[in-house]
Symmetry: C2
Subunit: 294 residues, 2 copies
Protein backbone atom coordinates (compact mmCIF):
# COMPACT_ATOMS: atom_id res chain seq x y z
CA UNK A 1 0.00 0.00 0.00
CA UNK A 2 1.24 3.48 -0.87
CA UNK A 3 0.36 6.48 1.21
CA UNK A 4 0.30 9.29 -1.33
CA UNK A 5 -0.95 9.67 -4.89
CA UNK A 6 1.05 11.99 -7.16
CA UNK A 7 -0.33 13.30 -10.43
CA UNK A 8 2.19 14.72 -12.91
CA UNK A 9 1.54 16.81 -16.02
CA UNK A 10 4.77 16.70 -18.05
CA UNK A 11 4.87 19.45 -20.65
CA UNK A 12 7.36 20.75 -23.18
CA UNK A 13 7.93 23.98 -21.22
CA UNK A 14 7.37 22.81 -17.64
CA UNK A 15 6.43 19.83 -15.51
CA UNK A 16 3.76 20.21 -12.82
CA UNK A 17 2.95 17.77 -10.03
CA UNK A 18 0.36 17.58 -7.25
CA UNK A 19 0.20 15.19 -4.31
CA UNK A 20 -3.15 13.97 -2.93
CA UNK A 21 -4.35 11.74 -0.13
CA UNK A 22 -6.49 8.64 -0.64
CA UNK A 23 -9.68 10.73 -0.85
CA UNK A 24 -8.24 12.83 -3.71
CA UNK A 25 -7.74 15.93 -1.60
CA UNK A 26 -4.73 17.86 -2.95
CA UNK A 27 -2.11 18.40 -0.24
CA UNK A 28 0.64 20.18 -2.18
CA UNK A 29 1.88 21.26 -5.60
CA UNK A 30 5.28 21.47 -7.31
CA UNK A 31 6.77 22.61 -10.57
CA UNK A 32 10.02 22.05 -12.47
CA UNK A 33 11.49 22.46 -15.98
CA UNK A 34 10.47 20.78 -19.26
CA UNK A 35 9.66 17.08 -19.50
CA UNK A 36 9.95 16.06 -23.14
CA UNK A 37 10.45 12.28 -23.00
CA UNK A 38 11.05 12.00 -26.75
CA UNK A 39 13.78 14.62 -27.17
CA UNK A 40 15.55 14.48 -23.75
CA UNK A 41 14.59 11.58 -21.48
CA UNK A 42 17.29 12.30 -18.87
CA UNK A 43 16.20 15.89 -18.36
CA UNK A 44 12.54 14.83 -18.42
CA UNK A 45 13.18 12.29 -15.64
CA UNK A 46 15.01 14.90 -13.54
CA UNK A 47 12.13 17.38 -13.84
CA UNK A 48 9.46 14.75 -13.18
CA UNK A 49 11.22 13.77 -9.95
CA UNK A 50 11.99 17.40 -9.02
CA UNK A 51 8.37 18.51 -9.44
CA UNK A 52 7.15 15.52 -7.40
CA UNK A 53 9.62 16.15 -4.54
CA UNK A 54 8.63 19.80 -4.62
CA UNK A 55 4.93 18.86 -4.33
CA UNK A 56 5.67 16.64 -1.32
CA UNK A 57 7.72 19.40 0.33
CA UNK A 58 4.93 21.90 -0.42
CA UNK A 59 2.56 19.52 1.42
CA UNK A 60 4.93 19.33 4.41
CA UNK A 61 5.73 15.68 3.64
CA UNK A 62 9.24 14.20 3.73
CA UNK A 63 10.34 14.00 0.06
CA UNK A 64 11.74 10.53 0.73
CA UNK A 65 8.08 9.36 0.70
CA UNK A 66 8.43 9.56 -3.10
CA UNK A 67 9.61 5.95 -3.24
CA UNK A 68 6.52 4.75 -1.38
CA UNK A 69 4.08 6.85 -3.47
CA UNK A 70 1.88 5.95 -6.44
CA UNK A 71 2.19 8.25 -9.45
CA UNK A 72 0.53 8.80 -12.82
CA UNK A 73 2.48 10.81 -15.38
CA UNK A 74 0.73 12.31 -18.41
CA UNK A 75 3.16 13.28 -21.11
CA UNK A 76 3.29 13.76 -24.90
CA UNK A 77 4.87 10.79 -26.65
CA UNK A 78 3.76 8.23 -24.03
CA UNK A 79 2.15 6.24 -26.86
CA UNK A 80 4.99 6.71 -29.37
CA UNK A 81 7.26 3.69 -29.75
CA UNK A 82 9.07 2.68 -26.55
CA UNK A 83 9.14 6.20 -25.05
CA UNK A 84 6.35 5.59 -22.52
CA UNK A 85 7.70 2.31 -21.13
CA UNK A 86 11.31 3.57 -21.02
CA UNK A 87 10.37 6.52 -18.81
CA UNK A 88 8.05 4.36 -16.66
CA UNK A 89 10.88 1.91 -15.91
CA UNK A 90 13.12 4.81 -14.81
CA UNK A 91 10.59 6.39 -12.41
CA UNK A 92 11.43 6.07 -8.66
CA UNK A 93 7.84 5.66 -7.38
CA UNK A 94 6.49 2.50 -5.67
CA UNK A 95 4.02 2.18 -8.53
CA UNK A 96 3.62 4.34 -11.63
CA UNK A 97 1.76 4.56 -14.90
CA UNK A 98 2.61 6.73 -17.89
CA UNK A 99 -0.24 7.90 -20.14
CA UNK A 100 -0.57 10.54 -22.85
CA UNK A 101 -0.95 14.23 -22.07
CA UNK A 102 -4.21 14.04 -23.97
CA UNK A 103 -5.58 11.32 -21.66
CA UNK A 104 -4.97 13.30 -18.44
CA UNK A 105 -6.49 16.37 -20.13
CA UNK A 106 -9.57 14.29 -20.98
CA UNK A 107 -9.79 12.93 -17.44
CA UNK A 108 -9.35 16.41 -15.97
CA UNK A 109 -12.00 17.89 -18.26
CA UNK A 110 -14.65 15.13 -18.06
CA UNK A 111 -13.94 13.54 -14.68
CA UNK A 112 -15.29 9.98 -14.75
CA UNK A 113 -17.99 10.77 -17.38
CA UNK A 114 -18.10 9.87 -21.06
CA UNK A 115 -17.69 12.64 -23.63
CA UNK A 116 -15.48 14.26 -26.22
CA UNK A 117 -12.61 16.71 -25.66
CA UNK A 118 -10.82 18.78 -28.31
CA UNK A 119 -7.69 20.84 -27.65
CA UNK A 120 -6.66 23.86 -29.71
CA UNK A 121 -3.37 25.57 -28.93
CA UNK A 122 -0.25 25.61 -31.11
CA UNK A 123 -1.36 22.11 -32.17
CA UNK A 124 -4.73 20.34 -32.09
CA UNK A 125 -5.87 16.93 -30.88
CA UNK A 126 -9.13 15.14 -30.04
CA UNK A 127 -10.13 12.49 -27.54
CA UNK A 128 -13.34 10.68 -26.66
CA UNK A 129 -14.34 8.35 -23.84
CA UNK A 130 -17.34 6.08 -24.41
CA UNK A 131 -18.25 3.38 -21.88
CA UNK A 132 -14.81 3.97 -20.38
CA UNK A 133 -12.98 3.28 -23.64
CA UNK A 134 -10.76 6.15 -24.81
CA UNK A 135 -10.15 7.00 -28.48
CA UNK A 136 -7.67 9.65 -29.62
CA UNK A 137 -7.47 11.20 -33.09
CA UNK A 138 -5.51 14.04 -34.66
CA UNK A 139 -2.40 15.61 -33.18
CA UNK A 140 -0.21 14.69 -36.16
CA UNK A 141 1.70 17.97 -36.29
CA UNK A 142 1.13 21.03 -38.44
CA UNK A 143 2.87 19.85 -41.64
CA UNK A 144 0.21 17.23 -42.49
CA UNK A 145 -2.20 17.54 -39.55
CA UNK A 146 -3.25 19.68 -36.58
CA UNK A 147 -6.15 21.19 -38.54
CA UNK A 148 -7.59 24.29 -36.80
CA UNK A 149 -4.50 24.64 -34.61
CA UNK A 150 -2.89 28.02 -34.05
CA UNK A 151 -0.01 26.94 -36.30
CA UNK A 152 -2.37 26.10 -39.18
CA UNK A 153 -4.30 29.38 -38.77
CA UNK A 154 -1.02 31.30 -39.03
CA UNK A 155 0.23 29.30 -41.99
CA UNK A 156 -3.11 29.77 -43.80
CA UNK A 157 -2.92 33.51 -43.13
CA UNK A 158 0.56 33.85 -44.68
CA UNK A 159 -0.51 31.78 -47.70
CA UNK A 160 -3.57 33.96 -48.30
CA UNK A 161 -1.59 37.16 -47.70
CA UNK A 162 0.77 36.09 -50.52
CA UNK A 163 -2.17 35.24 -52.81
CA UNK A 164 -3.65 38.67 -52.05
CA UNK A 165 -0.27 40.28 -52.78
CA UNK A 166 -0.32 38.52 -56.17
CA UNK A 167 -3.87 39.68 -56.85
CA UNK A 168 -5.27 36.13 -56.85
CA UNK A 169 -7.71 37.08 -54.11
CA UNK A 170 -8.75 40.48 -52.79
CA UNK A 171 -6.51 42.00 -50.10
CA UNK A 172 -8.14 42.73 -46.74
CA UNK A 173 -7.14 44.86 -43.74
CA UNK A 174 -5.54 41.77 -42.15
CA UNK A 175 -3.51 40.72 -45.21
CA UNK A 176 -2.31 44.33 -45.60
CA UNK A 177 -1.16 44.38 -41.95
CA UNK A 178 0.67 41.09 -42.44
CA UNK A 179 2.40 42.14 -45.67
CA UNK A 180 3.34 45.54 -44.22
CA UNK A 181 5.08 43.75 -41.32
CA UNK A 182 7.18 41.99 -43.99
CA UNK A 183 7.95 45.31 -45.78
CA UNK A 184 5.44 44.23 -48.47
CA UNK A 185 8.15 41.86 -49.68
CA UNK A 186 6.80 38.37 -50.38
CA UNK A 187 10.37 37.02 -50.29
CA UNK A 188 10.52 38.03 -46.61
CA UNK A 189 7.31 36.11 -45.92
CA UNK A 190 8.76 33.03 -47.62
CA UNK A 191 12.00 33.25 -45.64
CA UNK A 192 10.08 33.54 -42.39
CA UNK A 193 7.76 30.65 -43.28
CA UNK A 194 10.58 28.28 -44.23
CA UNK A 195 12.24 28.62 -40.82
CA UNK A 196 9.14 29.22 -38.68
CA UNK A 197 8.27 26.82 -35.88
CA UNK A 198 4.63 25.88 -35.21
CA UNK A 199 4.77 28.39 -32.34
CA UNK A 200 5.94 31.15 -34.72
CA UNK A 201 2.94 30.53 -37.00
CA UNK A 202 0.57 30.21 -34.03
CA UNK A 203 1.35 33.74 -32.86
CA UNK A 204 -0.91 34.96 -35.69
CA UNK A 205 -3.94 33.08 -34.33
CA UNK A 206 -5.33 35.79 -32.00
CA UNK A 207 -5.09 38.33 -34.85
CA UNK A 208 -6.98 35.98 -37.19
CA UNK A 209 -9.84 35.63 -34.68
CA UNK A 210 -9.94 39.39 -33.95
CA UNK A 211 -10.19 40.28 -37.62
CA UNK A 212 -12.70 37.49 -38.31
CA UNK A 213 -14.92 38.94 -35.58
CA UNK A 214 -14.61 42.33 -37.31
CA UNK A 215 -15.75 40.79 -40.63
CA UNK A 216 -12.39 40.65 -42.45
CA UNK A 217 -13.12 38.38 -45.46
CA UNK A 218 -9.86 36.41 -45.40
CA UNK A 219 -9.77 36.03 -41.60
CA UNK A 220 -13.39 34.82 -41.78
CA UNK A 221 -12.54 32.33 -44.54
CA UNK A 222 -9.62 30.92 -42.47
CA UNK A 223 -11.66 30.56 -39.27
CA UNK A 224 -14.71 29.10 -41.11
CA UNK A 225 -12.50 26.45 -42.74
CA UNK A 226 -10.89 25.62 -39.39
CA UNK A 227 -14.28 25.42 -37.64
CA UNK A 228 -15.54 23.15 -40.40
CA UNK A 229 -12.49 20.91 -39.87
CA UNK A 230 -13.33 20.81 -36.15
CA UNK A 231 -16.97 19.94 -36.90
CA UNK A 232 -15.79 17.05 -39.10
CA UNK A 233 -13.46 15.67 -36.43
CA UNK A 234 -16.13 15.99 -33.73
CA UNK A 235 -18.61 14.14 -35.98
CA UNK A 236 -16.06 11.33 -36.32
CA UNK A 237 -15.94 10.93 -32.53
CA UNK A 238 -19.48 11.73 -31.38
CA UNK A 239 -22.16 9.05 -30.94
CA UNK A 240 -25.94 9.52 -30.81
CA UNK A 241 -26.42 9.83 -27.03
CA UNK A 242 -23.21 11.75 -26.31
CA UNK A 243 -24.12 15.15 -24.93
CA UNK A 244 -20.72 16.44 -23.81
CA UNK A 245 -18.08 18.25 -25.85
CA UNK A 246 -15.32 20.06 -23.99
CA UNK A 247 -13.00 22.50 -25.80
CA UNK A 248 -9.56 22.96 -24.25
CA UNK A 249 -6.45 25.04 -24.97
CA UNK A 250 -5.74 28.69 -25.66
CA UNK A 251 -8.07 28.92 -28.69
CA UNK A 252 -11.01 27.01 -27.14
CA UNK A 253 -13.04 30.08 -26.28
CA UNK A 254 -12.39 31.76 -29.65
CA UNK A 255 -13.77 28.78 -31.59
CA UNK A 256 -17.05 28.34 -29.62
CA UNK A 257 -19.16 30.71 -31.72
CA UNK A 258 -17.84 29.32 -35.04
CA UNK A 259 -18.86 25.70 -34.55
CA UNK A 260 -22.06 24.23 -35.95
CA UNK A 261 -25.11 24.94 -33.78
CA UNK A 262 -25.49 21.19 -33.17
CA UNK A 263 -22.01 21.07 -31.65
CA UNK A 264 -22.41 24.35 -29.77
CA UNK A 265 -25.39 22.81 -27.98
CA UNK A 266 -23.11 20.06 -26.61
CA UNK A 267 -20.38 22.35 -25.22
CA UNK A 268 -19.64 22.17 -21.50
CA UNK A 269 -16.87 23.78 -19.48
CA UNK A 270 -14.04 21.49 -18.37
CA UNK A 271 -14.30 20.25 -14.75
CA UNK A 272 -10.56 20.61 -14.16
CA UNK A 273 -7.21 20.78 -15.85
CA UNK A 274 -4.81 18.05 -17.00
CA UNK A 275 -2.95 18.00 -13.67
CA UNK A 276 -6.26 17.34 -11.92
CA UNK A 277 -6.78 14.46 -14.36
CA UNK A 278 -3.37 12.98 -13.52
CA UNK A 279 -4.11 13.27 -9.79
CA UNK A 280 -7.46 11.48 -10.13
CA UNK A 281 -5.79 8.65 -12.11
CA UNK A 282 -3.08 8.41 -9.43
CA UNK A 283 -5.67 8.27 -6.63
CA UNK A 284 -7.53 5.50 -8.48
CA UNK A 285 -4.28 3.58 -9.08
CA UNK A 286 -3.32 3.89 -5.39
CA UNK A 287 -6.82 2.68 -4.46
CA UNK A 288 -6.38 -0.42 -6.65
CA UNK A 289 -3.19 -1.19 -4.70
CA UNK A 290 -5.03 -0.83 -1.46
CA UNK A 291 -7.87 -3.13 -2.50
CA UNK A 292 -5.38 -5.73 -3.69
CA UNK A 293 -3.30 -5.59 -0.52
CA UNK A 294 -6.42 -5.62 1.72
Amino acid sequence: MTKYAIGIDGGGTSCRAAVADATGRILGRGKAGPANIMSDRVMALENIVASSRSALENAGIDPSCLVSSTAVLGVAGANVGPHGSLIREALPFAKAEVVTDQLIALQGALGPSDGVVASFGTGSVYGARRHGKVTEIGGWGFVVGDQASGARLGRDLLELALLAHDGVCAATPLTRIVMAAFRNNPQDVVEFAHSATPGDFARYAPQVFEHAAAGDAIATRIVRKAASDIDNSLDALLWPDCNTVCLLGGLALAYRAWLSTAHQALLVDPLGDALQGAVSFAVALAGQDERRSA
Copy 2:
Protein backbone atom coordinates in the same frame (compact mmCIF):
# COMPACT_ATOMS: atom_id res chain seq x y z
CA MET B 1 29.72 43.67 -82.17
CA THR B 2 29.67 40.07 -80.86
CA LYS B 3 29.69 37.14 -83.20
CA TYR B 4 27.73 34.52 -81.27
CA ALA B 5 24.62 34.53 -79.06
CA ILE B 6 24.57 32.08 -76.17
CA GLY B 7 21.38 31.19 -74.32
CA ILE B 8 21.76 29.55 -70.91
CA ASP B 9 19.13 27.77 -68.82
CA GLY B 10 20.60 27.50 -65.33
CA GLY B 11 18.77 24.91 -63.24
CA GLY B 12 19.13 23.37 -59.81
CA THR B 13 20.17 19.99 -61.22
CA SER B 14 21.95 21.02 -64.44
CA CYS B 15 22.87 23.99 -66.58
CA ARG B 16 22.20 23.86 -70.33
CA ALA B 17 23.52 26.24 -72.97
CA ALA B 18 23.04 26.69 -76.72
CA VAL B 19 24.97 28.90 -79.13
CA ALA B 20 23.24 30.54 -82.10
CA ASP B 21 24.24 32.76 -85.01
CA ALA B 22 22.75 36.18 -85.66
CA THR B 23 19.72 34.64 -87.40
CA GLY B 24 18.90 32.52 -84.33
CA ARG B 25 20.01 29.24 -85.91
CA ILE B 26 21.32 26.95 -83.15
CA LEU B 27 24.92 25.86 -83.91
CA GLY B 28 25.73 23.78 -80.82
CA ARG B 29 24.60 22.73 -77.36
CA GLY B 30 26.34 22.10 -74.04
CA LYS B 31 25.52 20.91 -70.56
CA ALA B 32 27.14 21.06 -67.12
CA GLY B 33 26.28 20.62 -63.45
CA PRO B 34 23.88 22.64 -61.26
CA ALA B 35 23.67 26.43 -61.36
CA ASN B 36 22.00 27.60 -58.16
CA ILE B 37 23.10 31.23 -57.84
CA MET B 38 21.48 31.63 -54.41
CA SER B 39 23.05 28.65 -52.61
CA ASP B 40 26.44 28.31 -54.41
CA ARG B 41 27.41 31.19 -56.70
CA VAL B 42 30.95 29.92 -57.33
CA MET B 43 29.78 26.51 -58.52
CA ALA B 44 26.98 28.14 -60.51
CA LEU B 45 29.47 30.38 -62.31
CA GLU B 46 31.72 27.39 -63.11
CA ASN B 47 28.83 25.43 -64.61
CA ILE B 48 27.46 28.40 -66.56
CA VAL B 49 30.90 28.89 -68.17
CA ALA B 50 31.45 25.14 -68.64
CA SER B 51 28.10 24.64 -70.39
CA SER B 52 28.77 27.66 -72.64
CA ARG B 53 32.27 26.48 -73.62
CA SER B 54 30.84 23.04 -74.25
CA ALA B 55 28.17 24.53 -76.57
CA LEU B 56 30.84 26.44 -78.52
CA GLU B 57 32.98 23.29 -78.82
CA ASN B 58 29.91 21.31 -79.90
CA ALA B 59 29.42 23.91 -82.65
CA GLY B 60 33.06 23.57 -83.73
CA ILE B 61 33.87 27.07 -82.51
CA ASP B 62 37.01 27.98 -80.53
CA PRO B 63 35.81 28.22 -76.89
CA SER B 64 37.87 31.39 -76.48
CA CYS B 65 35.12 33.11 -78.51
CA LEU B 66 33.22 33.06 -75.20
CA VAL B 67 34.66 36.44 -74.26
CA SER B 68 33.43 38.02 -77.50
CA SER B 69 29.94 36.47 -77.26
CA THR B 70 26.62 37.85 -76.02
CA ALA B 71 24.78 35.72 -73.47
CA VAL B 72 21.45 35.64 -71.68
CA LEU B 73 21.23 33.49 -68.55
CA GLY B 74 17.87 32.47 -67.14
CA VAL B 75 18.11 31.29 -63.58
CA ALA B 76 16.01 31.01 -60.42
CA GLY B 77 16.76 33.79 -57.94
CA ALA B 78 17.77 36.34 -60.61
CA ASN B 79 15.19 38.72 -59.11
CA VAL B 80 15.97 37.96 -55.47
CA GLY B 81 18.09 40.59 -53.74
CA PRO B 82 21.54 41.12 -55.29
CA HIS B 83 21.86 37.55 -56.64
CA GLY B 84 21.16 38.44 -60.27
CA SER B 85 23.55 41.39 -60.52
CA LEU B 86 26.32 39.56 -58.60
CA ILE B 87 26.33 36.67 -61.07
CA ARG B 88 26.04 39.05 -64.08
CA GLU B 89 29.14 40.98 -62.99
CA ALA B 90 31.10 37.72 -62.72
CA LEU B 91 30.18 36.40 -66.19
CA PRO B 92 33.03 36.37 -68.77
CA PHE B 93 30.95 37.28 -71.86
CA ALA B 94 31.34 40.49 -73.90
CA LYS B 95 27.78 41.33 -72.92
CA ALA B 96 25.33 39.49 -70.71
CA GLU B 97 21.94 39.74 -69.10
CA VAL B 98 20.57 37.66 -66.25
CA VAL B 99 16.81 37.07 -66.07
CA THR B 100 14.56 34.68 -64.14
CA ASP B 101 14.11 31.04 -65.18
CA GLN B 102 10.42 31.85 -65.45
CA LEU B 103 11.08 34.61 -68.01
CA ILE B 104 13.08 32.39 -70.39
CA ALA B 105 10.38 29.70 -69.98
CA LEU B 106 7.75 32.28 -70.97
CA GLN B 107 9.81 33.46 -73.94
CA GLY B 108 10.43 29.88 -75.05
CA ALA B 109 6.75 28.97 -74.76
CA LEU B 110 5.17 32.09 -76.29
CA GLY B 111 7.94 33.37 -78.59
CA PRO B 112 7.37 37.10 -79.12
CA SER B 113 3.58 36.88 -78.53
CA ASP B 114 1.53 38.00 -75.54
CA GLY B 115 -0.05 35.36 -73.33
CA VAL B 116 0.02 33.52 -70.01
CA VAL B 117 2.24 30.62 -68.96
CA ALA B 118 1.85 28.44 -65.86
CA SER B 119 4.42 25.89 -64.71
CA PHE B 120 3.60 22.85 -62.58
CA GLY B 121 6.43 20.61 -61.43
CA THR B 122 7.69 20.18 -57.88
CA GLY B 123 6.76 23.86 -57.48
CA SER B 124 4.37 26.14 -59.36
CA VAL B 125 4.70 29.62 -60.84
CA TYR B 126 2.83 31.86 -63.30
CA GLY B 127 3.85 34.50 -65.81
CA ALA B 128 2.05 36.76 -68.26
CA ARG B 129 3.23 39.05 -71.03
CA ARG B 130 0.86 41.79 -72.16
CA HIS B 131 1.99 44.46 -74.65
CA GLY B 132 5.53 43.26 -73.94
CA LYS B 133 5.27 43.83 -70.18
CA VAL B 134 5.93 40.72 -68.08
CA THR B 135 4.19 39.97 -64.77
CA GLU B 136 5.10 37.01 -62.56
CA ILE B 137 3.06 35.64 -59.67
CA GLY B 138 3.30 32.61 -57.39
CA GLY B 139 6.39 30.49 -56.91
CA TRP B 140 6.60 31.20 -53.18
CA GLY B 141 7.55 27.66 -52.15
CA PHE B 142 5.36 24.84 -50.86
CA VAL B 143 5.15 25.89 -47.19
CA VAL B 144 2.94 28.94 -47.86
CA GLY B 145 2.61 28.87 -51.66
CA ASP B 146 3.11 26.77 -54.80
CA GLN B 147 -0.57 25.86 -54.92
CA ALA B 148 -1.25 22.95 -57.33
CA SER B 149 2.43 21.99 -57.38
CA GLY B 150 3.51 18.37 -57.08
CA ALA B 151 4.72 19.09 -53.55
CA ARG B 152 1.32 20.44 -52.50
CA LEU B 153 -0.54 17.49 -54.09
CA GLY B 154 1.65 15.10 -52.11
CA ARG B 155 1.30 17.01 -48.86
CA ASP B 156 -2.49 17.17 -49.30
CA LEU B 157 -2.56 13.42 -49.92
CA LEU B 158 -0.69 12.61 -46.69
CA GLU B 159 -2.94 14.97 -44.72
CA LEU B 160 -6.10 13.34 -46.08
CA ALA B 161 -4.66 9.84 -45.60
CA LEU B 162 -4.19 10.66 -41.89
CA LEU B 163 -7.74 12.08 -41.66
CA ALA B 164 -9.05 8.90 -43.29
CA HIS B 165 -6.99 6.81 -40.86
CA ASP B 166 -8.67 8.73 -38.01
CA GLY B 167 -12.12 8.18 -39.54
CA VAL B 168 -12.67 11.91 -40.14
CA CYS B 169 -13.23 11.23 -43.84
CA ALA B 170 -13.86 7.97 -45.69
CA ALA B 171 -10.77 5.98 -46.68
CA THR B 172 -10.30 5.35 -50.41
CA PRO B 173 -8.13 2.93 -52.40
CA LEU B 174 -5.45 5.65 -52.65
CA THR B 175 -5.37 6.51 -48.92
CA ARG B 176 -5.20 2.77 -48.11
CA ILE B 177 -2.21 2.37 -50.45
CA VAL B 178 -0.49 5.35 -48.84
CA MET B 179 -1.09 4.19 -45.27
CA ALA B 180 -0.06 0.61 -46.09
CA ALA B 181 3.27 1.95 -47.39
CA PHE B 182 3.74 3.48 -43.92
CA ARG B 183 2.80 0.17 -42.18
CA ASN B 184 -0.57 1.80 -41.34
CA ASN B 185 1.32 3.73 -38.69
CA PRO B 186 0.38 7.43 -38.69
CA GLN B 187 3.53 8.20 -36.68
CA ASP B 188 5.59 6.99 -39.65
CA VAL B 189 3.70 9.37 -41.95
CA VAL B 190 4.38 12.25 -39.57
CA GLU B 191 8.09 11.41 -39.37
CA PHE B 192 8.34 11.29 -43.16
CA ALA B 193 6.43 14.54 -43.59
CA HIS B 194 8.55 16.46 -41.10
CA SER B 195 11.78 15.70 -42.95
CA ALA B 196 10.39 15.49 -46.50
CA THR B 197 11.66 17.87 -49.18
CA PRO B 198 9.25 19.35 -51.75
CA GLY B 199 10.59 16.70 -54.15
CA ASP B 200 9.75 13.91 -51.69
CA PHE B 201 6.14 15.11 -51.49
CA ALA B 202 5.96 15.65 -55.25
CA ARG B 203 6.70 11.99 -55.96
CA TYR B 204 3.05 11.29 -54.97
CA ALA B 205 1.69 13.57 -57.71
CA PRO B 206 1.46 11.00 -60.55
CA GLN B 207 -0.38 8.59 -58.21
CA VAL B 208 -2.85 11.33 -57.24
CA PHE B 209 -3.67 12.00 -60.90
CA GLU B 210 -3.95 8.28 -61.76
CA HIS B 211 -6.38 7.64 -58.92
CA ALA B 212 -8.35 10.82 -59.64
CA ALA B 213 -8.80 9.59 -63.22
CA ALA B 214 -10.09 6.30 -61.79
CA GLY B 215 -12.64 8.16 -59.66
CA ASP B 216 -10.95 7.87 -56.24
CA ALA B 217 -12.89 10.36 -54.07
CA ILE B 218 -9.91 11.77 -52.17
CA ALA B 219 -7.63 11.96 -55.21
CA THR B 220 -10.44 13.74 -57.06
CA ARG B 221 -10.92 16.18 -54.18
CA ILE B 222 -7.19 17.01 -54.16
CA VAL B 223 -6.94 17.54 -57.92
CA ARG B 224 -10.21 19.56 -58.08
CA LYS B 225 -8.94 21.88 -55.34
CA ALA B 226 -5.60 22.28 -57.14
CA ALA B 227 -7.31 22.93 -60.49
CA SER B 228 -9.53 25.52 -58.83
CA ASP B 229 -6.40 27.20 -57.42
CA ILE B 230 -4.94 27.24 -60.95
CA ASP B 231 -8.17 28.72 -62.37
CA ASN B 232 -8.01 31.50 -59.74
CA SER B 233 -4.39 32.35 -60.55
CA LEU B 234 -5.07 32.32 -64.30
CA ASP B 235 -8.04 34.66 -63.76
CA ALA B 236 -5.72 37.03 -61.89
CA LEU B 237 -3.42 37.21 -64.93
CA LEU B 238 -5.74 36.94 -67.94
CA TRP B 239 -7.21 39.97 -69.69
CA PRO B 240 -10.27 40.10 -71.97
CA ASP B 241 -8.56 39.67 -75.36
CA CYS B 242 -5.86 37.23 -74.22
CA ASN B 243 -6.36 33.94 -76.03
CA THR B 244 -3.18 32.07 -75.08
CA VAL B 245 -2.51 29.98 -71.99
CA CYS B 246 0.47 27.67 -72.02
CA LEU B 247 0.93 25.00 -69.33
CA LEU B 248 4.51 23.93 -68.67
CA GLY B 249 6.27 21.41 -66.42
CA GLY B 250 5.87 17.74 -65.61
CA LEU B 251 2.23 18.04 -64.47
CA ALA B 252 1.05 20.30 -67.33
CA LEU B 253 -0.60 17.54 -69.35
CA ALA B 254 -2.25 15.97 -66.29
CA TYR B 255 -4.00 19.23 -65.34
CA ARG B 256 -5.45 20.08 -68.80
CA ALA B 257 -8.73 18.18 -68.38
CA TRP B 258 -9.33 19.50 -64.85
CA LEU B 259 -9.28 23.24 -65.66
CA SER B 260 -12.43 25.27 -66.25
CA THR B 261 -13.77 24.93 -69.80
CA ALA B 262 -13.14 28.65 -70.33
CA HIS B 263 -9.44 28.14 -69.60
CA GLN B 264 -9.21 24.86 -71.51
CA ALA B 265 -10.36 26.76 -74.61
CA LEU B 266 -7.31 29.05 -74.32
CA LEU B 267 -4.69 26.29 -74.01
CA VAL B 268 -1.94 26.14 -76.63
CA ASP B 269 1.19 24.00 -76.80
CA PRO B 270 4.48 25.75 -75.98
CA LEU B 271 6.53 26.83 -79.04
CA GLY B 272 9.81 25.84 -77.42
CA ASP B 273 11.52 25.23 -74.11
CA ALA B 274 13.23 27.60 -71.69
CA LEU B 275 16.65 27.17 -73.35
CA GLN B 276 15.08 28.23 -76.65
CA GLY B 277 13.74 31.29 -74.82
CA ALA B 278 17.22 32.17 -73.50
CA VAL B 279 18.69 31.79 -77.00
CA SER B 280 16.09 34.09 -78.55
CA PHE B 281 16.77 36.72 -75.87
CA ALA B 282 20.52 36.38 -76.50
CA VAL B 283 20.05 36.77 -80.28
CA ALA B 284 17.95 39.89 -79.70
CA LEU B 285 20.54 41.32 -77.28
CA ALA B 286 23.37 40.63 -79.77
CA GLY B 287 21.28 42.33 -82.48
CA GLN B 288 20.90 45.46 -80.31
CA ASP B 289 24.72 45.58 -80.06
CA GLU B 290 25.02 45.31 -83.78
CA ARG B 291 22.55 48.11 -84.49
CA ARG B 292 24.30 50.37 -81.98
CA SER B 293 27.76 49.68 -83.40
CA ALA B 294 26.51 50.12 -86.99
